[in-house]
Symmetry: C2
């Protein structure tokens, strides 16, 4: 059968009490992935989720990763129906500072429509709303797709376990669509489809001069200054117009499809709001390129940290022994992460001033960037679903950030990512008094339930 929006709304209303009860149960696990003191809590949380998945109709088990287990559930669909891989995470951010919370972070508490707890939104709330949709469709025999659910326990600390394990899981994770409910709505509350994520690479380098800090009078004009060298190298990464000056770094980038740029430009960039939210003008990146394009379609190369010499109060007349620069870059489709790192290393090495030694302390890549095609039928389907859920038109958003595990899952499963979530700034994720509203939960539930049904052809609808 097929559940209409009205069917789903009724079933949500009828089951709201147990849904909320179970959600609160999930939130009581202090599954802080980054804190070894909470290892047992993470295991207990994974166990609970595993049993929960089994209880709602999945063939569920824990997959060892060498660190935190991944909760895995699978349910075979009808022959010919598409395969959906759903990703979520059960770990949460640390709750510190504890005394900044109105309610204890692991004792979920309602205030009006909002449930307050660490993880209320990120990601237990969004994850659980989707699980309840799966449950509802299964109970109504309305789920045709084959569904594979992956819930990891290390998203907030780098997804090390799942990243290590993924190469071996390629075969059984193969899917057509990768659904992720770990994103938010536009600042104005419009439902949002994330049309792309940037990739990310990083490199930390040291510059070394004298074997200790030297007196800047005795040695000024004699000793080479690593702080100055660091400034020169860092400044040399960009051209005067804000563009990246590293030879080879931009290789492979094709101009974005005009339809995508046009769609991104439909969401006007609110400079006044940006100023209010960040305290600064949106003056970064390439001059003369619109902000939506700079963040959604262009790469960056940022200095995340630069440190050399004296940093205390007042002055100290030293020539520092060394300097460190922490760099990271956001990549767009076409850029190969490893080749970007090579280009960066070559660029730096070629510009080290006399008397200074460059050392690459660490470098790494956490996946390439990707973009969806605005003309994809699945994007159109998601758009259609979201149009029915909100008074505001859905927004297509080319995101500047990276979710490395999504890039990795996309590549491992060969699936088209579909990132739709209902977070808002009011949720205070990663901060004290995190919350998620019953209304946001309901939106996640309805979207997942409707979208899953749109992913396979039925009743004359077009399969996506």
């Amino acid at each position: 059968m097929q559940l209409t929006r009205e069917d789903l709304e009724r079933r949500f209303r009828d089951n709201s009490a147990p849904y909320m009860q179970q959600w609160m149960e999930l939130l009581r696990f202090p599954s802080v992935g980054a804190d070894p003191a909470h290892d047992a809590d993470c295991e207990a949380c994974a166990d609970w989720l595993c049993r929960h998945l089994a209880g709602i109709g999945f063939d569920a088990r824990l997959l060892p990763t060498g660190s935190k287990p991944v909760v895995y559930g699978q349910r075979a669909g009808r022959a010919g129906a598409p395969t959906v891989l759903f990703y979520g995470h059960y770990d949460v951010q640390p709750a510190d500072p504890l005394d900044a919370w109105t309610h204890p972070p692991f004792e979920p508490a309602w205030e009006g429509d909002r449930l307050y707890a660490r993880g209320a939104q990120d990601n237990k709330g969004q994850l659980f709303a989707a699980l309840k949709a799966f449950e509802t469709l299964i109970a109504a025999d309305a789920l045709d797709a084959t569904v594979k659910i992956v819930v990891e326990g290390e998203e907030e600390s780098g997804s090390a376990g799942i990243s290590r394990a993924l190469p071996e899981w390629r075969e059984f994770l193969a899917a057509d669509v990768l659904m992720v409910a770990d994103t938010g709505m536009a600042p104005n509350g419009a439902p949002t489809i994330v049309m792309g994520l940037r990739g990310v690479v990083f490199m930390n380098v040291a510059l070394r001069g004298p074997d200790r800090d030297l007196h800047s009078g005795v040695h000024g004009g004699l000793a080479p200054n690593p702080a100055e060298a660091a400034a020169e190298l860092a400044a040399g990464l960009h051209k005067d117009d804000g563009g990246i000056a590293v030879d080879g770094f931009l290789d492979g980038i094709a101009a974005p499809p005009p339809s995508a740029v046009a769609a991104a430009m439909q969401a006007p960039f609110d400079t006044a709001l940006y100023r209010e939210r960040t305290g600064c003008e949106p003056a970064g990146g390439e001059r003369g390129v619109p902000p939506q394009v700079r963040v959604g379609f262009r790469p960056t190369l940022e200095i995340n940290g630069i440190h050399a010499g004296y940093g205390g109060a007042g002055s100290k007349t030293v020539i520092p022994a060394g300097a460190e620069i922490k760099l990271s870059a956001r990549l767009v489709p076409g850029q190969d992460p490893e080749r970007c790192l090579e280009a960066l290393a070559r660029h730096l090495a070629a510009r080290v001033p006399p008397g200074i030694r460059l050392e690459i302390l660490s470098r790494g890549a956490a996946g390439p960037g990707f973009r969806l095609d605005p003309s994809s039928p699945r994007v159109a389907a998601a758009r259609g679903v979201l149009e029915g859920l909100s008074e505001q038109s859905p927004v297509l958003h080319w995101e500047g950030a990276s979710i490395p595990v999504v890039a990795a899952l996309r590549s491992a499963a060969g699936a088209e990512p579909l990132l739709v979530g209902f977070g808002s700034e009011a949720d205070n994720i990663h901060a004290p008094d995190e919350s998620f509203s019953r209304e946001q939960f309901r939106l996640g539930f309805l979207y997942t339930g409707l979208m899953l049904q749109r992913l396979h052809a039925r009743h004359g609808e077009q399969a996506v």
Copy 2:
């Protein structure tokens, strides 16, 4: 009468026991000027010195400065004889780390020819050797010059008290020569006349962007990056050839007299030794300019510190909220400290990238640079004295460092500085196990005794 070198040597030998005893007494005061816990020790040390000066023939008193008192002694000379202002300091560096000392730092202990204690050289040893020379000349009625002695208690922490007081002391400090025994010998042990000191100015600036660290993915391409701005500003202070790129900063610098440059070049620069002592090549400063000239005759503009963003382990993908740069410059004669600061501030302000705000946190000048003329008769006299004291020929040294209080005293007293000291690297000043040898003490004693007599015309010698 006139004391010959042999006279002085004999008197030193004869009085060596009480001289060493008194020196050890002076070293027992833990007169750590920077540590308020030692305020009473500093006062006691100043009292002791004041009584000592009175005991050897000076009209002595303590001059209040608002912080540590200056010990002042004066003795009128014969009519027509020159006036000598002698400068020293009774404060010492902190003795930490205490457990790195072989003997307790304030219990002077002999090992062979060396006396170990904090301040053994810097400056109590060099100061006391000179005082013993004054005492000897006075006792022998061989001191014609009018002598003014100034011993401050804040040299190691910035000379704030005396600097504040100097403008009011101009009249009674007026002198022809300013003798300072707070410097060292050449690395090869040759007696050294410091022919110039550079001045110093400093400026600490902040660059501000967003009101907090921002996510470098979400905001990369939107938010301006203060770390990048800091790198650009810092890198823009120098030209590709290592020269200073700040408009107006070099105004007023005349080419150094060829005779001075020639004299400086006579002390060959030992690159291998420099490498061994610093761990780096002498590759700083202006390309194509000899090291002796770079450090002795050219100004610098150094980045003493640059700090922005993440500095911990690994990576953190932030666009930092702000950055700080700590700058200082060494100035040569002709450069006006205040005008240099103005030029620097203008240069920075004109180059702040869009979206970034520049704030000058602090700025200050600690005196201009000065140089002696190698043809000065007093330099010739000092050279003559030193030639008789060592097997090695005396070296004329144009020093890259600054002694701000010397510049201030020079200007207040209208005197020609004559900086000759007998420190060596082996003395470990500012470090554990500081020491000064009886032989170095004796050299200081002989030099002061002979030089004072050369400063006035007698027995047909030329007055200098």
